[in-house]
């Protein structure tokens, strides 16, 4: 290859280090490209690591993705930048100049060995967003046991130091000199030939009553809440419990809750609600499981069998024309519905609504920065017959940023995005 390449031409920026971002990065790194893998959270792995088990084989999600995560950390071609997002993008395909904004972690990734001695002494306690507020964390925290990198960050906005208090509890407890209160936010500029957007999705509340999870509706849950109850590293160590700490004797799973409101099918909920039914049967002896279904959407060679096998475990399947109405009923939830032309209702200890797959927070802003289009739902628009390309040359997309899809499709789209990058920037 005799020709002189313009500087930074073959390097790639991948925004978002969930399943799509990790897969795209590793595929590109394998081709010999230098990849800047940027993730705004202090840990990476996206939404996948919130699940205990995943369809179709009910495989342990964190175990499944762990080798890929180790690869990312060890791979010389991948530079993982956590607590980092994109501030500005200039240039064009083949020669982008991107300014990244890296927030201070206040913990040295070189020195910290992840022993966790700094958590206990911290005097500030707040709700843990990763656990959907079902447990507390400190101002110095890791989102959950086992996340990578295995090093905490300080949420400085919650820390007493930002309020003028010279609290040094965490630093005093650290034996490895890993805590640095003088750490600062910084900006860095990189030159890349292509950008892959892998920012994922937000699990939305469409169709869920506003007050779900609180007061009268405290046992009305969204999908991630139920998932975290089942998670072995979650707030209840994998035991499914109502807000009062009781094992529910009946659980209702409600499909299509937000579909009408959003105007599209979130595609994966029929499968994950079947998965949830299996969680319930596994963990709760003698539990009654209801699935309120409008449409059984199970495309592909595995989905139907998975759902049918789940139903055979004793699910009470109720077909309704419209999603049921849910309301609080003492400690439990009352589900009112119309089936076979009659109005019926049932009381359950816990109800889980199919949360919807919606554009990630900040998607619209990011689209603006990158100069790419979004569709009427807010998802990134793809270019005609190129399902992994955004509407601007040099920008590719992978994952649920373009719309709901299951995990295998996310991985495939990431590999396709990598193909697009490799072809554009010379391979």
């Amino acid at each position: 290859m005799g020709e002189q390449q313009p500087a930074g031409r073959s390097d790639v920026l991948v925004i978002g280090a969930g399943l799509a971002g990790v897969e795209a990065s590793l595929t590109l790194a394998n081709a010999g490209r230098k990849v800047y893998l940027v993730e705004r959270q202090p840990h990476f792995g996206g939404n996948v690591i919130k699940s205990e088990e995943v369809f179709p084989n009910m495989e342990c999600a964190t175990c499944m993705i762990a080798p890929k995560q180790s690869d990312v950390i060890e791979n010389r071609n991948v530079e993982l930048l956590t607590l980092t997002d994109v501030k500005e993008v200039r240039g064009e395909a083949g020669a982008f100049e991107v300014t990244l904004r890296r927030s201070a972690r206040y913990v040295s990734l070189e020195n910290c060995i992840g022993c966790g001695a700094c958590f206990e002494p911290c005097p500030v306690s707040t709700g843990n967003g990763f656990e959907e507020g079902m447990s507390q964390r400190k101002a110095i925290y890791v989102a959950s046991a086992g996340v990578l990198p295995n090093a905490p960050a300080i949420a400085m906005g919650e820390c007493l130091r930002s309020k003028g208090d010279d609290c040094t509890a965490c630093r005093d407890a650290c034996m490895f000199d890993a805590i640095d209160y003088e750490d600062k936010d910084e900006e860095l500029t990189i030159e890349v030939g292509a950008i892959v957007v892998a920012t994922g999705y937000r699990l939305g509340d469409a169709g869920l009553p506003e007050e779900h999870g609180k007061g009268e509706l405290k046992n009305m849950l969204g999908a991630f809440e139920f998932e975290r109850l089942r998670a072995s590293n979650g707030p209840t160590e994998g035991e499914i419990r109502t807000r009062d700490g009781e094992a529910p004797k009946s659980v209702a799973f409600i499909h299509c809750a937000g579909r009408e409101e959003l105007g599209y099918c979130s595609q994966v909920c029929c499968r994950y609600l079947a998965k949830f039914a299996r969680y319930a049967f596994d963990k709760l002896d003698g539990v009654e499981v209801y699935e309120f279904v409008r449409e059984e959407s199970v495309p592909g060679k595995e989905a139907q069998r998975f759902v049918e096998a789940t139903l055979k475990k004793g699910v009470k399947l109720v077909r309704t024309a419209a999603p049921p109405k849910v309301s609080g009923n003492g400690a439990g939830v009352k589900v009112e519905y119309r089936a076979n032309g009659k109005s019926e209702s049932v009381n359950v200890d816990m109800a889980v609504l199919a949360s919807t797959i919606e554009p990630a927070e900040g998607a619209a802003d990011l689209a603006g920065l990158l100069g790419i289009e979004t569709d009427r739902f807010g998802f990134f628009r793809t270019d005609g017959t190129e399902p992994a390309s955004a509407t601007r040359a040099g920008v590719f997309i992978a994952g649920c940023g373009t719309g709901p899809k299951d995990m295998p499709t996310v991985v495939l789209q990431a590999q396709a995005a990598a193909a697009g990058v490799l072809k554009l920037t010379g391979n």
Partner: protein
């Protein structure tokens, strides 16, 4: 002889507080098997790595044991340190005295005893390590794509690039059928014009040999010429068949006049599609989910195709009554709900059924169905169009045989991992895309074509030699009796039997290093290079104390 160097990491207080490292060091020194024992506060730190590098260099060790945290944390770190000072990275053995000793054993005396056993095991083991050299081989960056439908053409387009050639084989006589999967003619033309692509239409693949980096395809062209095509990777895009409703009397296909399938009309021109009856057609029923129960899966594309057909029909003759009968409406795409709504607005009726049957009704047809609430009803129509599912094509079995691929119970190609590597297979370098691996919408097909391109473009880089994994298995010819048990044990087709020499051979390109063949071998001929029987034996002896 420089001997074995033993390094004990204190990991700050994590190890030092829980294990009496002085005692461990003293006992190991007494054993007399190591040249020297050294301690460091934090070996993985920059200072620690520097210390380790300088020490190994100074003492010229040929074998090193590092007792520290889990190898899953820092094996790569210490191997890189070793390689940096000229010590083969395979000559290092790590001992996990943190996660699997200090942290799980509250009693210091017990923890120390366990640490001692583990360190002794590693010291005994490391003596039998060999300095494995990483091999590189030339590989062919070209790609063979088999199947000239949308999947194959789109994959070929994405793969064709400077430095590599793509051969697109449009196969005939192996079960592929013309239909909705055909790529637009312009795309095929484009590919034919591309100097980096060679398109062979209407050929037959007789055999596929070789392995990742050097496959050979033996092909008979349309002109009956036998040629050989060499490539580094193979992409199978051999398509699928529509479910055949004939033989299911409940649908009346092939028995009653006026029953056709959506696929037959897939490329109907403007104007009323031929509906299989000479009678004037005033009402049509489109029946979804045909074959779904028999096949056991939802094909995912037929609802949209059926609605597309219904719309074309309604647009070409707006007075015709069109009713769609469905069990479930599968609308996974982001625009699909909207498409459905528009179809309803055009006047197409939608009726959900639990059970459906097509019967003769006087001169016409009747769709008899059981509705959701259990009640029975019937609709008289002039014609019925069936939206059928997709089933695996018969050529899948042939290719599976040639390439050691797995087929699932439906006859579709099996993925290496259903989530992490959907288009990959257990045979390295062979990918399957499109409906040959399962029902796929156009969007699915395009994504899969792109994914195969991504895998291929990143694994086979023109001019780059393939680095082989070192921690693989091998068979010692002199001990091998040719029994073939190891061949059967390998999930990746990496072990084959050389019939001429009557011994088993491990292909290092394909071996994933599990060691199953080594355990299967009755004579000890098959060994995993980094987990030999002798190495494991040494560990077992020391671990028993």
């Amino acid at each position: 002889m420089p001997g074995i160097g033993l390094y004990l990491c204190e990991c700050g207080p994590n190890i030092a507080d829980s294990i009496d490292l002085d005692l461990v060091a003293a006992e190991v020194e007494k054993d007399g098997k190591v040249a020297r024992v050294e301690r460091f506060k934090l070996l993985c730190s920059e200072d620690g790595k520097k210390f380790l590098a300088e020490s190994i260099k100074e003492h010229g060790y040929g074998h090193v044991v590092v007792a520290a945290c889990s190898p899953k944390q820092h094996q790569t770190t210490f191997e890189e340190v070793a390689a940096g000072v000229g010590l083969n990275p395979h000559m290092i053995q790590m001992v996990n005295i943190r996660e699997q000793c200090a942290w799980m054993t509250p009693d210091k005396e017990e923890a120390t005893g366990k640490a001692l056993r583990l360190v002794r095991a590693a010291v005994s083991r490391v003596r039998y390590h060999r300095a494995l050299e990483q091999k590189e081989i030339e590989c062919n960056p070209d790609v063979v794509v088999i199947g000239g439908g949308t999947a194959g053409v789109e994959a070929a387009r994405r793969i064709a690039h400077e430095g590599r050639k793509v051969h697109l084989l449009g196969v005939a006589g192996l079960g592929s059928e013309p239909g909705a999967d055909d790529a637009p003619a312009e795309r095929v033309e484009e590919l034919k014009q591309d100097p980096l692509a060679e398109v062979h239409e209407g050929c037959t693949v007789q055999d596929l040999l070789g392995f990742f980096g050097s496959f050979i395809a033996r092909v008979k062209t349309r002109e009956e010429e036998e040629i050989e095509i060499r490539a580094g990777s193979v992409v199978l895009a051999t398509g699928a068949k529509p479910f055949d409703p004939a033989g299911f009397p409940g649908y009346g296909y092939g028995m009653l006049a006026g029953v056709t399938t959506v696929g037959e009309h897939a490329r109907a021109e403007d104007g009323a599609p031929a509906l299989g009856t000479d009678r004037p057609v005033k009402s049509v029923a489109v029946i979804h989910c045909v074959g779904r129960e028999k096949l056991g899966y939802c094909s995912g594309t037929c609802c949209m195709e059926a609605m597309g057909f219904a719309r074309r029909l309604k647009q070409s003759s707006p007075e015709t009554e069109v009713t769609e009968f469905f069990r479930d409406l599968c609308l996974p795409g982001i625009g699909d709900d909207g498409f459905h709504r528009e179809t309803e607005e055009l006047g197409v009726h939608f009726v959900r059924f639990r059970d459906v049957e097509v019967a003769q009704d006087g001169d016409g047809l009747a769709v008899r169905y059981q509705a959701e609430d259990g009640s029975s009803d019937s609709l008289a129509v002039d014609a019925v169009v069936l939206a059928v599912g997709v089933k695996a094509g018969p050529s899948n079995a042939d290719f599976a045989g040639m390439l050691n691929l797995g087929l699932d119970e439906h006859g579709f190609f099996q993925s290496e991992h259903p989530v992490l590597n959907p288009v990959g297979t257990v045979t390295e370098g062979v990918f399957t895309i499109g409906s040959c691996r399962g029902p796929a919408s156009t969007s699915d097909v395009l994504i899969q074509a792109g994914a195969a391109a991504g895998k291929v473009l990143s694994a086979l880089v023109p001019g780059r030699r393939m680095k082989l994994e070192t921690r693989t298995s091998e068979v010692a010819d002199k001990l091998c009796t040719g029994c073939g048990l190891c061949v059967a044990a390998c999930a990746y087709g990496a072990v084959t039997r050389d019939d001429a020499r009557r011994v088993a051979v491990v292909n290092e390109v394909l071996c994933r290093g599990c060691g199953n063949c080594a355990a299967a071998c009755p004579s000890g001929a098959a060994q995993h290079r980094q987990f030999t029987a002798r190495q494991l034996d040494q560990e077992v002896t020391q671990v028993l104390g």
